[in-house]
Symmetry: C2
Subunit: 364 residues, 2 copies
C-alpha cells in the first residue's frame, strides 16, 4: 500500500460528500495499492474509507492472489460464485458501516456491478474520478523526471521512423517499427496511431491496413510508459512532397500549437490556453475543424487531469503536466496535428518535454 497517497486522498475526502472511495483494477488502483490485478465481470475493488481504513472485496477465485499482493496488510473479503455477489457484498458493506453511504467510484468501476449493488445493498455511488485525479494533478519532482524520460523515449523513435517510412509499407508495419524503437529504449505499454492519407482526418484513427502512398499526409501519434509515467507526442509528415496548400495549413497548425503552448504559463486560465489555438486557426476559418479539446493532462494515465478545454475553469499550477495538441481534421480527406507534452515544472517554468523537430518534414 502506498500510504502517502491514501492519506492524501483521505484528507481531501473530508471536504466531499464521500464516505468511501471504490477503486477497481486500473492504473488508479496501482497508484494506491502498488499493483492492479486483471478484472473480469466479477465485482472487485479497494474501498478507502474516510477514516483512513481500507478493505478489498473480490471473488473467492482471486482471494489468495489478492491477499498475497497486499502482503495481508488489509482485510480482503471474498464472495463465492455460488452465493451470488450482492448477497455477500451487502453483508460486507453493512459490516463496514457503509449501508446507506455515499461511495465515489474510480474510472474503471463497471456500471452494471455498481448499479446492482445500489439496487440490492442500499449504497449510493457517485463519480469520484475528478477527486482521484486531483490527488495526483501536481506532479512531484520524481514524477516529472520520469515524464521527461518517457518523453525522451518517444522522441527517440521519430528520426529512425522517418528514415523507415516509404511508400508500399502498411500503417501497421510502421506502428510495429515504432514499437521496436520505444521498446529497445526501455518503454513499456507501447501504443501508436499511424494515420495516412484520408485516415489522417480521424483524430483517433484505429486502423492499420492502409498502404502508404506518394503524396500522403501522415499523422503519427505515439507514446509509452516509463516508471509508471506516460508519454504522448504527435507529428505530421509528408510523403514525397507537400503542396502549397498543405504547407499553408501546416504552418497554421504549427502557429496554433505554439500559441497555446506559449499561453501555458503558471497561473494561466485554462480556457484561455484552449482558446489561443482556436484564434489562430480562425484566421483562415479552420477553428471549426478543431473538433476536440486542445489538450489533456498526462501522468499515471495517458489521459488524466487537467483537461485543456473551455469548460475547465481553473488556473495552471506548478507540477501540472498536459498535452497541447491542436489539429485540423477533415474526415476522409486529411488531417494535421502537432502535439507536445508541456509541464509547469518545479521552478514554475513552462517546460516542453518533447524535443522532436516541428519543422515541416518531407519523407523522400
Amino acid at each position: 500500500m502506498r500510504k502517502h497517497y491514501i492519506e492524501k486522498l483521505v484528507s481531501m475526502m473530508g471536504e466531499t460528500e464521500f464516505d468511501a472511495i471504490l477503486v477497481c483494477p486500473s492504473e488508479e488502483l496501482k497508484f494506491f495499492a502498488g499493483f492492479s490485478p486483471m478484472m473480469c465481470e466479477r465485482f472487485q475493488g479497494l474501498f478507502i474509507k474516510k477514516d483512513g481504513s481500507c478493505f478489498y472485496v473480490c471473488n473467492l477465485l482471486y482471494g489468495d492472489e489478492i491477499k498475497e499482493s497486499f502482503n495481508h496488510e488489509i482485510p480482503v473479503y471474498t464472495w463465492f460464485d455460488g452465493d451470488g455477489m450482492t448477497n455477500v457484498v451487502g453483508k460486507i458493506l453493512e459490516e463496514q458501516g457503509l449501508k446507506g453511504a455515499t461511495v465515489g467510484v474510480n474510472s474503471s468501476a463497471q456500471a452494471f456491478n455498481v448499479l446492482e449493488i445500489t439496487d440490492k445493498c442500499g449504497v449510493n455511488f457517485k463519480n469520484a474520478k475528478p477527486l482521484l485525479e486531483e490527488v495526483r494533478i501536481r506532479k512531484t519532482p520524481e514524477e516529472l523526471e520520469n515524464l521527461r524520460k518517457a518523453a525522451a523515449i518517444a522522441d527517440a523513435a521519430f528520426e529512425p521512423t522517418i528514415k523507415f517510412i516509404r511508400p508500399g509499407l502498411t500503417e501497421g508495419q510502421i506502428r510495429d517499427f515504432m514499437f521496436e524503437q520505444m521498446s529497445s529504449r526501455g518503454g513499456t505499454n507501447l501504443w501508436a496511431i499511424v494515420a495516412s492519407g484520408p485516415n489522417s482526418g480521424f483524430p483517433h484513427y484505429s486502423g492499420y491496413d492502409r498502404v502508404i502512398q506518394e503524396q500522403d499526409i501522415m499523422v503519427l501519434d505515439w507514446g509509452c510508459e516509463y516508471n509508471e509515467m506516460q508519454s504522448d507526442i504527435s507529428r505530421t509528415v509528408f510523403v514525397g512532397d507537400a503542396t502549397e496548400d498543405q504547407r499553408r495549413i501546416y504552418e497554421l497548425v504549427d502557429r496554433a500549437q505554439l500559441a497555446s503552448q506559449e499561453a501555458a504559463v503558471e497561473g494561466a486560465w485554462i480556457p484561455d490556453i484552449d482558446k489561443a489555438a482556436r484564434v489562430v486557426l480562425d484566421e483562415q476559418d479552420y477553428a471549426k475543424t478543431l473538433i476536440n479539446r486542445v489538450g489533456h493532462g498526462i501522468g499515471y494515465m495517458i489521459h488524466e487531469a487537467p483537461d485543456i478545454k473551455e469548460c475547465n475553469p481553473r488556473r495552471l499550477e506548478r507540477g501540472m503536466c498536459f498535452s497541447i495538441e491542436p489539429g485540423v481534421y477533415l474526415a476522409n480527406v486529411y488531417g494535421m496535428r502537432i502535439e507536445n507534452i508541456v509541464a509547469i515544472n518545479e521552478k514554475g517554468e513552462t517546460e516542453i518535454l518533447n524535443k522532436v523537430t516541428r519543422e515541416l518534414t518531407i519523407i523522400k
Copy 2:
C-alpha cells in the same frame, strides 16, 4: 444495424422496467450494430428505446467515423469537449423523451459516466446485462456451427503444444506457440493461460515468466474467436512424470468434470449440474478447493449466460452453450482443471464441442 436482434431485445424490453437500453462499445454493441468502436474516457453508446427506435451519442471527435459506421441509418448526436458532456447529453436525452426514464446498461458502460449523467441529467440507470444476455442465450444453428469451429481451432493447438513443451521454456514462450497454432488455423482474439508448477493453483493466473521444470503440473487454458464465436478449453498435463497422489487427484477431477458434463442435459436444473462435480470432489474432501462456479455460458463473449452455479435457478434449454470446468486449486502449491464446452444442440442432445483427449498426459 442487425435489426433482427434489436427487435428481439425490444420485444423482451416490454416486460421489464426499462424505457431504453444503453449499449456502450463492446461485443454487445457489435452484436446489435455490427461494429464496435474504441472507447476512451469520453461517454458514448447506442440507446435502444422500447418503441424500437435507436440513437447514438458520442464525442464530436468520433462523430464522422460513427455516422459512417452506421451508414447514416440512425441519428448520431455529438458533444464537444469544450461544452462539457452532461450539458449536451442532458439535452439529447430530454429531446429523446428519456428525462426521468429508467435506462438499462450493458456490461461495458463506465460507472463514472453513467453516475455523472444520473446526477446532472435526471436519468436512472440499472443493470441490464442479464437482459442483454437473455437475447442470445439460445444459440442459433449458425452460431452453434461457429462455436464448433472455434472449438476445433482451439483443439488443434493441443497436440503440437504438447510436443513443443519442454523444461527450460517459459510460460510465455508456450503461450506464444499456442497463439501461432490458433492463428494459423483462422482463430482471432487469441488468449491463453499457461500456469505451471505452483502457479497452477491460481485459476486465473496471469503471469508468463516462470520457467518450466521437470515434475511440473501445468494447467493450460486457451481459446480464440471464429466468426464472432468464442472457444475456451482447459487441460492439465504433467512434465516428466506424475506421482501417485497427482494421478489420484487427476482421476478425481476427471470424474468430477464428467459428472457435471453428464448432468448437463436438456431440461436439467442448473444448480444440480454445478453440484454434481462438487459431490465427486467431496469424496476425497476436495469440494472446498473448487472455489468458483462449475461453468459459464459462452458465445459472443467468453463469459456470458448461463452461468453454471448454485445461484442460477433455471433449466437448460436447447441452444444453450457453456463450459464445464471444475478444478482443484491450492494457491502456490498446485492446481488441476479439465474444461470442455458443452452445447444443448439443435436436436436437444448434449454435444461436447471439444474433442481433445482427457487421458492423463505426460510430457516426456
